[in-house]
Symmetry: C2
Subunit: 289 residues, 2 copies
């Protein structure tokens, strides 16, 4: 059954009312590996200890998240073959550590990369404090529907990603490990897609073992970004955009490279050290310099 | 302010109504390290994947748990110096993976080990399915109130713990690692006592760093017990009693030793390999042989 372009483009906004507790905020932080290396460090504990809790800024990606709405059969999507393509998060205010938020997700574009490559569905999500309507974050994400290309759409018009100045050496770098059970933990905070736990589903999707969530990699790289560019202060991170170019397998080591550009702006990419494969590219960070 | 023996012995039963979800059952399993070594193994996934979920039997210890009720100032306890002394869990039926349970906790004895050693408070807890009243588990635990000995009570009468036949070599053994952030994860499922996360609280309690929860060690050792004695089948574990003899620091490696005794009965102890210190002793397991 082919993807239903018209149905998807005209679907109503998905409104998600999301109540979360301090323990969820802590679980997100554990899911992206905070505390794994320095469990008693104040820079870990601020995201892990309810007594002095702050939300790690990339947690915006799990707030008001509609989950795998592609699974709804009406859209005709081969959902097991979906992977995350791009993620952009603009942070407007300090994230709450608990409470109730609303996430409003809209499909804004669908590109057809051809029957061999797949379809790309772009959506946006606004996350607001439910009680006040205050905007917390605006996100734009693209999902790569690897089994759904060739529906007759256009492949043109997608916004160009941020270019990484790889002609020169990076200004900062950091090495972060992931754990073999990283996805098992991240999924409780973020995304229960079985691709990240079920060996059979992973195999059916063309992977030898379950892969790490793109958004888990995003959070882990976000830790390096916050440390190298924002002095570890969560409020200084204003925007973080990336393109996921290859899957990460749980247990692999990430090498994050950062290029400072104009004031308050930097480029980022990350590779898996063990395989020397770039897994996250075209990264853009905006921050309070 | 001294411990108030009469008040504690006559306190009404603490009734805890506890609603938990599949994600809590998974979080408990992650908290005791299931999946850390073999994240895609079916024997891990049965406790981690909502699609085929079972509860790990030692999870009984977090069901209907009243938490740190000793903190209530009316009992006069130096609560920061409390450590877990003993834990006995008798399992009557397969644990639910979600739902609502009732925990009923009663103080049954208090022993005075003297001003230098502390007081020992013994309590029991029955855990029942709330809707039916069916008994899931009966627990007996003792808490060591290290700062509250010398209140003038008796030191006699405590039941004798199970003897470990250390004169002969053990029949089975297993080595299990813990992680430096093990307590940070376990506490979300089990017990938010700051002793297990807050370096200042740990120091005030006389420890160089936050220690692992006794009940986290209990669950980790339970994994070795289930594997060596019960063929990995959770329903076969019927009883698991231990005495906590020394703290475990997160990141240390546990060596679990098992002695088979009469049919369906075994003795257990565990030591920290790095320091060659026995941390869990007088262990008794009863199981369907």
């Amino acid at each position: 059954m082919p993807i239903d372009y018209d149905k998807m483009m005209t679907m109503p906004a998905i409104e998600i009312r999301h109540t979360f507790k301090r323990s969820d905020t802590i679980l997100y932080a554990l899911g992206i590996g905070i505390g794994a290396e320095a469990p008693t460090d104040p820079d870990s504990l601020r995201y892990l200890y309810e007594d002095r809790l702050e939300a790690f800024p990339t947690m915006a990606v799990v707030l008001g998240n509609p989950g795998l709405w592609f699974k709804d059969p009406q859209y005709g999507v081969d959902w097991k073959r979906i992977v995350h393509g791009e993620q952009s998060t603009v942070i407007h205010r300090t994230l709450p550590i608990e409470g109730e938020v609303m996430g409003t997700t809209r499909v804004v574009a669908i590109y057809d990369k051809g029957p061999d490559k797949g379809a790309v569905v772009c959506s946006t999500r606004e996350v607001r404090v439910r009680a006040t309507g205050d905007l917390i974050a605006t996100q734009r994400m693209s999902s790569f529907l690897r089994g759904d290309g060739g529906f007759g759409g256009s492949s043109e018009g997608a916004p160009k990603p941020h270019q990484t100045p790889t002609a020169r050496a990076c200004d900062e770098s950091a090495t972060l490990s992931t754990r073999s059970d990283q996805a098992l933990l991240y999924r409780l905070a973020g995304d229960l897609n079985p691709l990240h736990i079920d060996p059979e589903v992973a195999k059916a999707a063309g992977f030898p073992v379950p892969i790490l969530h793109g958004l888990c990699t995003y959070g882990i790289v976000g830790r390096a970004v916050l440390k190298t560019l924002c002095g570890g202060t969560p409020q200084r991170l204003k925007r973080f955009d990336v393109r996921f170019s290859s899957p990460v397998f749980p247990g692999e080591t990430l090498r994050v490279e950062v290029w400072r550009e104009e004031r308050g702006r930097a480029a980022v990419q990350a590779r898996v050290l063990e395989r020397d494969v770039i897994v996250l590219r075209n990264g853009l960070v905006e921050y309070d310099a």
